[in-house]
């Protein structure tokens, strides 16, 4: 009977704390900014930035010392390609270099004087491509276009030289071994499709950390003993506090997460191949581990604003640790070990696989299990932190009495 009574009381207190926390969140403008405004607007801003997806019409300068029909054909085809355009014709490389410095062009194509002469003499001829390496995407556009234009002209030269009789023979001469190039998942090679799913998951974690930290900081500043929990008869069990608070955060973030993972990709037409049941099952441990991670860290926050200092810069680190920009197979061991401490690593990897590559839950079981392990570990640690806090409040109170 006594056990039942305790559980009953615990449940009541839990609901009380849940309601209290909810009121705190709504009343606190700062928390509201991070819990609602940022997750609502930030993804839109990011999507808008990357909405064009690919780099087109990169301006390039041409130095044509050959002045031949062949070089002009090359220039025409280069200009007609979707990714590049010929913006300037220069008389010398120095002139072209000056244009690079003025940011008018991002690369230079140089045809030597003997460009066509060498081809006519049946010798290999060279085109020089100079790329400004401060931007990888423009380098890629210029180099790839130049290569494919060269390959195209090469095959024309080959067919004219080989003296075949049928079209089929020409095809085989050019390409005895044919190949299909198939970029899978994110077929456009778009930058938004690539970076956005990771950013979205990161926004969920970071805003949770900020919001929870901020509200914990406020609690500390307001409470009598500068501790995390107020003096009240409702706050005398670990589980009721931890569960009550986390239910409140979970409630808010169920909505936010749905908006971020489902609405945003649809609004901007990004790839979204998630299956509903998989997403729900996956987001459950992700949100919980983020919440407990945030609650565990919130014990470090003495003043409310400190949490911003601690969390904001880590966003960039977390994004790189997840293996988005720099492939996860090539992250050095030490940093890989560090990355396993944060929910975002598994959250981003799992979500990218599901969202962009259409994986099912079974394909990302490693990430899924790790998230549950993190949830349990962070939960236990949060409880330990709160136990410590309760004991301190009790001690302080008894000393006062």
């Amino acid at each position: 009977m006594k056990m039942l009574q305790r559980i009953n009381e615990g449940l009541h207190d839990m609901c009380h704390i849940w309601a209290e926390e909810m009121k705190n969140v709504v009343r606190d403008e700062g928390v509201l900014i991070f819990f609602v405004l940022v997750p609502l607007l930030y993804p839109i801003l990011y999507s808008w930035i990357y909405n064009n997806e690919v780099v087109r019409e990169v301006p390039v300068a041409v130095v044509d010392n050959s002045h031949s029909s062949m070089s002009r054909m090359f220039i025409r085809e280069f200009d007609a390609s979707p990714d590049t355009r010929v913006a300037y014709h220069c008389n010398s490389l120095d002139e072209a270099k000056d244009l690079v410095g003025r940011q008018a062009v991002h690369g230079v194509i140089y045809f030597p004087q003997d460009f066509q002469t060498r081809i006519n003499r049946m010798e290999q001829s060279h085109v020089s491509v100079y790329c400004d390496m401060s931007l990888m995407l423009t380098y890629k556009a210029i180099f790839q276009t130049a290569s494919s234009v060269a390959a195209n002209i090469n095959s024309k030269i080959q067919t004219s030289l080989s003296g075949n009789t049928t079209g089929r023979e020409d095809e085989i001469t050019i390409k005895p071994l044919d190949f299909d190039e198939i970029p899978m998942f994110n077929t456009t090679g778009g930058y938004g499709n690539f970076i956005l799913p990771g950013v979205l998951m990161l926004i969920i974690q970071q805003t949770l950390l900020l919001g929870i930290g901020l509200s914990a900081g406020t609690a500390r500043e307001k409470n009598k003993y500068k501790e995390l929990i107020p003096v009240s008869r409702h706050y005398n069990g670990i589980f009721r506090i931890v569960l009550g608070k986390s239910i409140c955060y979970f409630m808010i973030y169920s909505v936010i997460a749905a908006y971020v993972t489902l609405v945003i990709p649809r609004m901007f037409g990004f790839v979204s191949l998630v299956h509903a049941p998989d997403l729900v099952t996956f987001m459950l441990p992700y949100l919980l581990s983020c919440i407990f991670f945030g609650m565990m860290l919130s014990c470090l926050v003495r003043y409310r604003e400190n949490v911003i200092l601690l969390v904001v810069f880590s966003s960039i680190l977390f994004l790189f640790l997840s293996g988005m920009s720099w492939p996860s197979s090539n992250i050095p061991g030490t940093w890989k070990a560090v990355s396993w401490l944060f929910p975002s690593t598994f959250g981003i990897q799992g979500f990218v696989s599901m969202n962009t590559a259409g994986a099912r839950l079974g394909d990302i079981s490693l990430q899924y299990i790790c998230l549950w392990i993190q949830t349990v570990v962070f939960f236990i640690m949060t409880c330990a932190v709160y136990k410590f806090q309760i004991d301190r409040v009790k001690k302080l109170r008894s000393r006062e009495q």
Binding site: I49, G101, Q124, F143, N154, F320
Partner: protein, 382 residues
Amino acid sequence: MNVAARECGILRSNMIYLFCMVVFPVVIIFFFTSLMNEGQPEDMPVGVVDMDNTATTRSMTRKLDAFQNTRITRHFNDIAEARAAMQRNEIYAFLYFPAGTTDKLLSMRQPKISIYYSNTSLTAGALLGKDLKIIATLGSAGVGSAQMSAKGYTEKQITAFLQPIAIDLHTIQNPWISYNIYLSTMLIPGCIMLFIFLITVYSIGTELKFGRSKEWLAAAGDNIYVAVAGKMLPQFIVFITIMLAYIWYVFGILDFPHPGGTWTMMLLGLLAVVSAQGFGIFMFGLMPSLRMSMSTCSLWAVISFSLSGAAYPVFSMSPAIEALAQLFPLRHYYMVYQICVFNGFPLPYAWFNIAAMVGFACLPVFIMRNLKRAMLKFVYIP
């Protein structure tokens, strides 16, 4: 001077300053440079689906394995298996040889192989796609060259026929196409500037928060200019030291390309610190509430990584965003860095960006009166 001495005391007493001004920036410097130490991701996992399994296809597989970026980690029985491995992120690309590839190749019936690569990670996808394409093209060239040498052509004639026009690629200043040189030089200063933004706002805002604002002004003889200058001076010294340490480590020790020279880099470091500080003061003066100004500054700092235009070029964004990007100090930092330091053009080539950074540093002038009024009258709202 009084104010500066007082500020030193504050900086020492609160641990958060030590962490945000020294410890975290140093961690960041080592994090990025060690993470991308390889320069280009080497030996990324790639699979092979070889339904043909002949000496020819195996030799192509071996050649692919020898490429710098690629390592063949697995052989699959069919495409579905390979695709599933790609979805699990175990491999980033795979090569498919259908049955009869070699047969058709020898009898000149033009077999078709397929290269698949995943663009979920754009870096891995682009590099591996390039490697696989080269292998497939080499396969064609191999057949052509065998045929021609059998007919008695010289090697020179064979190259001239197989590749009449060759591309000479010059990747200026970064011949290794190193991602470390490309990304770390934007990310690390960006993080340092993020800390400058936040610490500037935090240090001014906490005066108000802890009710010390009047004491602060009094120490400066009620002159807001002296008060702000005194407050910023110790922070400036710490941050410029960190900035110079970054420059020394990355360009001196790791020897990243810097044809612009030491003085240009030091000038840029100085501009970065003062423009970020100026921007921070301006933001607080505009919104003398610690919470609002810190939130805005963090938004500004995080967005500036995207809007600096180092990863995805600004000219490819929508025109409205293109204009907005000019409001971010990091954008101008990146422009001056890449024009003057990385590509070694003289400073006047980036006059606009240098002027913009100086402008950011001067911004506080406009809000000094507002700031003084806030310090004297406002109370801290949480």
